[in-house]
């Protein structure tokens, strides 16, 4: 125990954070490289030693990566994890572990059977220890094998992996994983650091809470704890924490009203390492900490009734590397002190026998131990741990460690991958080990630095779905099978064209963080004068002009430089030479095109570089709300004047001198020099619910190049040659982008997303909210007319009509049955829609005697029969040849559906049909009959 005072001073310095965000689990295999690069894909066969051939999901051909460059490959875990085979866990030098059965042991070799590797003969010098697994030890976690399965806070992912280890030097970095901790558990962990240990390792923790609050701990110890009112979760902690307090490692645990802390060990300054085993009895809350040689270092006891499953490591202000974590079940017996320097055998009864294991008698299941006291036979069933080769040397020739789905691991040099099987050679094993890829969970490499690129190459960062890769574009041309974007990852010895249709970006220079949104009113003061500074940079915006002809001598009247914004996101420097009914006419030194149709234009900036005027949100909404009155004549443009005024209308024409704008069907002229910018409001944007794509069908093959000065060009790439990307735009013509100067290339759907975030592109019209009465009507029909119809509740007017079938119909004769009358005519579209629905609903109640009689209004028999035939209906039709019956029922609109109860009174009346009629009619009839509709019987 340390003093409360010390504890207090240390705890007060603590800062706590907890990761609460689950990391995305990889769905497919992912190859990780230094610099945070990765490729999802799959491992391909390759005969090249110490090289992995990786087929990325984004590339047409596989990349070859030297094993030395790889950080890790993680494969998807098996859905149903089977426990490892065999009676023993064999701990090999270098941290390898195999599970299997012992076949033989000699002074030189050990022979084991370790599925799926099969029979293996291993130099005895490579075997460190044999652990008996049954019946007391089952591993629930063996790792780490990289970050897979570990969670980091979404906004601070500061951990990385190296040879499967988890590493960080970021202050406050937290990593956590779910891990089912047995009721009696042994947690073995190995943590190292380069400079300074300052971490918290927690056993038993959940996501939501902060596991360590120094101040609270002090309050608990001092008996001053006060139950906080903010809620229980804030004051509750669980688990056991190994914490570094200055130069000491302590074990801490605290609950609402109890806490305990114990000193574990001093920690080395500078580079150091810690390898401990903690034995936890969750029932009693007792945690005992032991060194590997069985010395008890500390013990605390804090019941933890709400203990959760999970382990967490948080770096505070040092650096930390989690090298090993093994969580297994424990039989409750604490270890005994044992030397790690001499071979020995720990037995079930707790005794330790020192001596070298000479051999193993497989038939008798006995070990032959040669010790100071001579030879001794030990039953295999009594031996729980056999230290065979203390201080064994790690294998020297190892490029990869393979971690199997069972948790076993093996290190070696990669010989080849053939038939989806890894061929691996390990020091001390005479044979080549064959590992089916399907049995591998991870391949861990030591790659931590990427090679330098060739001289003069500009490195970019490719970000696609399933890909993050530093590298560069090599020359390539568009083919039927692949794009011209040929990617060379810096860690790979090969390159490949990327697949068509990808969405993502290639970043050469990250964009600056967005400026705070404080629109200046600078536009109010600006005059539409040329801006040579900006213009000078824009003229050669993309490095190479399509043709070198000088721009036509600009007339004074069109010399004003402008920016054309296309809906696809392009920003093209140009002169606006005119606007007419068809589109915008331009003159540009950057592109060949001289005309852009309206449907492709989003805005023109006649005063370039000016911001939009400061418009408060209310005014902006007003400008962008389309009144119902104008629904069929929506404004198509926002005209923004240099003084900040905004006019909404339809731009009809613009020439050098003036613009013509139609406002409420009247045309107004304005001097062009008073216009700062014009925004196009497209109907397709208004009907955004229709999901109208901004880009053409071929959007998935487009690339948008972004220059440092904000100029953008969107085009279909055709070739990469001489450090330039060359392509063609259906609007702008030929395009060429210098890869040495471009900031970013956007690909596919990412273009549209980026475009939507540009300032002008957020200006879109929206429909005014429809009044409720119109929305109701839109659903069809007025519904029940009970409140307004004087007929409801009254005796139904008598009907005596001839039926289309030739018989007579008299309503009064139907008393005792519910009758539904449906007034209709063949020329009435809504009637034609409603009749089948009415017929169907009434049929549901046939068993209840409900009868449907449709009443045709003033049509001849042939017309009636024709309509019934078209609708495939056979309902009874009463012929109201003179409209007199309809008149007695006050029919002013059809369809009108009248429900008459068994007493002969009108109970419901529906006008207008509509989508809700069937439900309403069903409900009405149901209220008059005791039985539910047939469909519900």
């Amino acid at each position: 125990m340390i003093s409360i005072r010390v504890a207090a001073s240390l705890f007060l310095l603590m800062i706590t954070i907890v990761g609460t965000v689950r990391a995305d689990e990889p769905i497919t295999a992912v190859l990780h490289l230094p610099d945070g690069d990765f490729f999802s894909g799959e491992l391909e066969d390759s005969d090249t030693a110490d090289s992995l051939r990786w087929q990325s999901t984004a590339a047409t051909q596989a990349f070859d990566f030297p094993a030395s460059q790889i950080s890790a490959v993680h494969f998807a875990p098996k859905q149903e994890q089977q426990p490892p085979h065999g009676e023993y866990c064999f701990e090999l030098s270098g941290g390898d572990r195999l599970f299997g059965d012992l076949v033989g042991l000699s002074p030189e070799h050990i022979e084991i059977n370790a599925p799926p590797l099969g029979a293996i003969v291993l130099d005895r010098a490579q075997l460190v220890r044999i652990l008996r697994r049954n019946p007391v030890r089952e591993w629930v976690y063996l790792g780490p094998n990289g970050l897979t399965g570990w969670e980091q806070p979404k906004d601070s992912k500061n951990w990385h992996e190296e040879a499967g280890h988890l590493i960080t030097d970021a202050a406050g970095a937290t990593v956590r994983r779910e891990c089912q901790i047995p009721e009696q558990a042994c947690v073995e962990f190995e943590i190292s650091w380069k400079k300074k240990p300052d971490f918290v390792f927690t056993i038993g923790t959940n996501r939501e809470q902060d596991p360590t609050t120094a101040k609270r701990f002090i309050e608990v110890l001092a008996g001053q704890i006060v139950q906080k009112q903010q809620g229980r979760d804030e004051s509750r902690t669980t688990g056991f924490r190994f914490e570094v307090w200055e130069e000491s490692l302590v074990i801490v645990s605290e609950r609402e009203k109890i806490a305990d802390v114990a000193f574990v060990s001093l920690l080395e300054s500078g580079e150091g390492r810690l390898h401990l085993r903690a034995y936890l009895d969750r029932a009693t809350g007792r945690l005992s900490v032991y060194s590997l040689d069985g010395k008890r270092l500390a013990q605390i006891e804090v019941p933890d009734p709400e203990a959760t499953d999970g382990v967490q490591l948080r770096n505070k202000r040092g650096d930390v590397r989690l090298e090993q974590l093994a969580v297994s079940s424990w039989d409750g017996r604490l270890p005994v002190e044992v030397s790690l320097d001499e071979p020995n055998v720990q037995q079930v009864d707790g005794s330790v026998v020192y001596g070298k294991i000479g051999s193993y008698d497989a038939a008798a299941k006995q070990f032959l131990l040669v010790g100071d006291a001579g030879e001794q036979r030990i039953d295999a069933a009594d031996a729980i741990s056999l230290l065979i080769t203390p201080n064994a040397e790690s294998p020297k020739n190892a490029s990869l460690r393979a971690v199997l789905q069972s948790g076993a691991s093996i290190t070696g040099s990669l010989v080849a991958v053939q038939g989806k099987t890894l061929h691996l050679r390990r020091d001390g094993v005479g044979q080549t080990l064959l590992l089916p890829v399907a049995e591998i969970r991870s391949l861990l490499g030591s790659g931590n630095d990427s090679p330098s690129p060739p001289e003069g190459i500009r490195i970019g960062r490719l970000e696609l779905n399933g890909v993050r890769s530093h590298g560069w574009l090599v020359d390539g041309a568009l083919t039927a099978e692949a794009t011209c974007i040929v990617w060379q990852p810096r860690q790979s010895t090969t390159n490949s064209a990327l697949n068509a249709g990808l969405s993502g970006r290639l970043v050469y220079r990250d964009p600056p963080p967005p400026k705070p949104k404080s629109r200046q009113t600078s536009v109010r003061q600006q005059r539409p004068q040329a801006r040579p500074g900006i213009w000078g940079g824009v003229l050669d915006a993309f490095g190479v002009r399509k043709n070198e002809q000088p721009a036509p001598p600009a007339k004074q009247s069109i010399s004003k430089q402008a920016l054309l914004h296309l809906r696809a996101g392009d920003k093209v420097p140009c002169q606006i030479t005119g606007v007419d009914e068809e589109g915008v006419h331009i003159a540009s030194t950057v592109v060949d095109s001289t005309f852009v149709p309206h449907e492709r234009v989003k805005a023109i900036e006649l005063v370039t570089g000016s911001s939009l005027p400061m418009i408060d949100e209310k005014k902006r909404q007003r400008l962008l709300t389309l009144p119902r009155m104008q629904r069929d004549n929506p404004p198509t443009h926002l005209i923004i004047a240099t003084n900040g005024d905004v006019l909404r209308g339809r731009l009809e024409e613009m020439n050098d001198e003036h613009i013509a704008v139609e406002v409420h069907l009247e045309t107004r002229d304005m001097p062009r020099e008073q216009i700062a910018s014009i925004i196009w409001l497209h109907r397709a944007e208004l009907e955004v619910e229709a999901d109208v794509p901004v880009l053409a069908e071929s959007a998935s093959t487009l690339i948008q190049a972004l220059r440092p000065d904000g100029i953008r060009l969107t085009f279909t790439p055709q070739q990469v040659i001489d450090n330039a990307l060359v392509g063609v735009s259906d609007i702008l013509g030929a395009c060429r982008v210098d890869l040495q100067t471009v900031d970013m290339l956007l690909m596919g759907e990412a273009i549209e997303k980026a475009t939507g975030e540009q300032e002008f592109h957020t200006w879109k019209l929206a429909h005014a909210v429809e009044p409720r009465y119109l929305l109701d009507d839109a659903a069809g029909g007025t519904g029940p007319a009970a409140p307004t119809s004087g007929l409801v509740g009254q005796p139904a007017p008598e009907i005596r009509l001839k039926l289309a079938s030739g018989e007579s119909f008299q309503l009064s004769a139907e008393k005792g049955h519910v009758v539904v009358l449906d007034f209709w005519a063949s020329w009435c579209g809504p009637c034609m829609q409603a009749m089948p629905a009415v017929d169907e609903v009434v049929r549901e109640f046939e068993v209840s005697g409900v009868k449907l009689v449709t009443v045709n209004m003033q049509e001849d028999l042939a017309t009636v029969e024709g309509a019934l035939e078209r609708l495939k209906l056979s309902s009874a039709v009463a012929l109201d040849v003179d409209g007199a019956t309809a008149e007695t029922y006050g029919v002013t609109a059809i369809p009108q559906t009248v429900v008459i109860d068994a007493e002969g009174k009108v109970s419901h009346l529906f006008v207008g049909g509509g989508s809700q009629l069937a439900d309403q009619l069903r409900e009405a009839i149901q209220s008059l009959t005791s039985k539910p509709p047939a469909g519900e019987l």
Binding site: M629, R631, D777, W827, G829, P830, G883, V891, G912
Partner: protein
């Protein structure tokens, strides 16, 4: 849902007024030359109607009958092509034969409702004096078939008789109906006015009573009720246009109801129709044209823009009552730009 009023509106078509029995020659047109895009749009629509006309001279699909045939007939007549020798002269004669064949030889009733009868009457009136009916019927049929004039007279008789039986002095679906609505009544009244303008005798009393009916259905605000008297108005640009049109074609611009209906329309030139767009445009175009030529010019600009967007690749338009009705009504709304139909004369 559709109110019967509106419903019926759908079926109907038109307008009318007319005066002389002959259309004005192109040189007499008021205003600018018809823009090329309007001409092209109209021609494409005509080609659609020409292509979809049946051998019998009518149109099928969606609503059909003498009223629809009449709308299509007027669309051809309004194009400016020579009705007797032009490229659509056969289509015109076939449509006329179809309408006349549908007429009951004794009652004069055309179609299965007075909507059809009204539009059929209007179409006959527009053709009367324009189409040379010496060539209308094939040699074998000529003896037993009626001429355009005879059919028109018979149709007028039917409408007048129906009105006399109606206590509202107006019309509804059945020629024998005893109730009325402004939609059906508009169709029939415009037909009668066109017939009168074409030289057929129509009793003044009939026109006066019908106008009185419309007056009784027009509110001070200019809204026009559908059926059953004032009260419970809903806004229908179509009915307001019908009211405005019948007042002006009946030469009753002196009426306050004319002023209020016209004002209602001119103050809402951008307002969209609540359903039955083609039907509304058909009447509104004529009402504005007759009432306020400057307002019509603005409104017409919007119409042209909208129709250009709406026209299908085959030249047709979509609408509530099928492509035939939507196409013919849309083109007739546009046809004010040509002003060839007598009824379009101001």
């Amino acid at each position: 849902m559709i109110f019967i009023k509106s419903i019926r509106q759908t079926l109907l078509l038109t307008t009318a007024l007319v005066s002389p029995a002959f259309a004005q020659p192109p040189t007499d047109h008021v205003g600018e030359v018809v823009p090329r895009d309007v001409r092209e749009m109209y021609d494409r629509g005509l080609q659609y109607l020409a292509k979809t006309q049946t051998e019998e001279g009518g149109w099928r699909g969606g609503q059909d009958g003498p009223g629809v045939d009449g709308m299509c007939l007027m669309t051809f007549l309004a194009s400016g092509e020579d009705p007797n020798f032009g490229i659509y002269s056969n289509h015109i004669r076939k449509a006329l034969r179809s309408i006349i064949r549908s007429q009951n030889a004794s009652t004069g009733f055309m179609g299965n409702s007075m909507y059809h009868h009204g539009f059929g009457t209007l179409a006959l009136a527009e053709a009367y004096g324009t189409v040379d009916d010496r060539n209308l019927w094939p040699a074998g049929d000529a003896a037993k078939a009626r001429s355009i004039g005879a059919a028109l007279e018979l149709a007028v008789q039917c409408a007048v008789t129906s009105q006399k039986k109606n206590s509202f002095d107006a019309w509804r679906y059945s020629p024998d109906a005893n109730d009325a609505d402004t939609s059906v009544s508009g169709a029939v009244l415009v037909g009668l006015l066109a017939a009168r303008n074409a030289g057929i005798e129509v009793p003044d009393e009939s026109i006066d009573r019908a106008i009185s009916y419309f007056q009784s259905m027009t509110s001070d605000s200019g809204q026009v009720a559908y059926s059953g008297g004032l009260g419970g108005f809903d806004e229908s640009l179509a009915r307001i246009s019908i009211g405005c049109l019948v007042y002006s074609v009946a030469r009753r611009k002196d009426l306050p109801q004319y002023t209020s209906t016209l004002a209602y329309l001119t103050q809402r030139l951008e307002q969209p129709a609540h359903g039955y767009r083609e039907y509304t445009a058909y009447y509104e175009s004529q009402a504005l044209f007759q009432g306020d030529i400057e307002a019509w010019e603005k409104w017409n600009k919007l119409l042209v823009r909208q129709l250009k967007e709406a026209q299908q690749d085959d030249g047709s338009f979509k609408g509530d009552f099928g492509p035939t009705v939507a196409t013919s009504m849309s083109l007739l709304a546009l046809a004010l730009n040509y002003r060839f139909l007598p009824i379009y004369e101001r």
